[in-house]
């Protein structure tokens, strides 16, 4: 399992390729990439800042990854999350799960994203024409996480 919290940009394609590079037992890789949008809740967004809780962030992501590994037969799991300043169009988050067969990879990837959305200590602050504003948590994210209980 690889957990990375970084300010630097990353290449999602290269990350996907690395998921099976050293393991011919991998039959399925499912990945998710989240991007910064240029519009949210009725306002243009010209960029955002991602605050986090150094120390807890890595632990929270690792805990989610361990739980995914206990639920599904994974061969590899990667979670990569950006922090700091980001512009529209940039990738924010990358989650990929590798397994022998597809269903475990599909489910683990969705599970990690749903748990990350509700349990990992990140906060987005968007730049809009009206000034910066904190993004509000969504109840739909909690409903999505509930389905794994």
């Amino acid at each position: 399992m690889a957990i990375r919290v970084q300010a630097d940009a990353f290449d999602p394609g290269a990350e996907v390729n690395a998921m099976h590079a050293a393991n011919a037992g991998v039959g399925a890789v499912v990945s998710f990439v989240g991007y910064v949008r240029d519009f949210n809740d009725g306002r243009d967004v010209s960029g955002m800042f991602l605050e986090h809780y150094p120390g807890m962030t890595e632990k929270a992501l690792a805990k989610i990854g361990v739980e995914a590994g206990q639920r599904w037969p994974l061969l590899k799991l990667e979670v990569l999350h950006r922090i700091g300043a980001l512009e529209p169009g940039e990738p924010i988050v990358f989650v990929a799960a590798a397994s022998a067969h597809r269903q475990a990879a599909f489910d683990a990837c969705a599970f990690v994203m749903d748990y990350l959305k509700t349990r990992a200590p990140f906060w987005k602050k968007e730049n809009t024409p009206d000034g910066p504003r904190w993004v509000e948590g969504r109840s739909s994210d909690h409903a999505a996480a509930e389905r794994w209980k």
Partner: protein, 80 residues
């Protein structure tokens, strides 16, 4: 006992700083929260959607507190 309290994101902006050392006897995380929230400056801690962590792990408000703990209060997370 002494504990360290952290605030993040909108909460840090609302209270005006991101950490605070507290002295006193606190049985639970909620006791820490209530001790602060009696001051209007910390009114944000009364929000029902408040989240908290003890020693870098998400916890409930009734989580016990020990000397030296790091307690964090923050709004709902919005990563991903």
């Amino acid at each position: 006992m002494s504990i360290n309290v952290l605030f993040f994101a909108r909460y840090a902006e609302a209270v005006g700083f991101d950490s605070l050392e507290m002295e006193g006897d606190f049985a639970t995380v909620d006791a820490v929260r209530l001790a602060l929230a009696s001051d209007p400056e910390f009114a944000v801690l009364n929000e029902s959607s408040l989240m908290c962590a003890r020693n870098e792990q998400l916890c409930d408000l009734n989580e016990p507190v020990q000397a030296g703990d790091e307690i964090a209060f923050f709004p709902p997370v919005t990563g991903g």
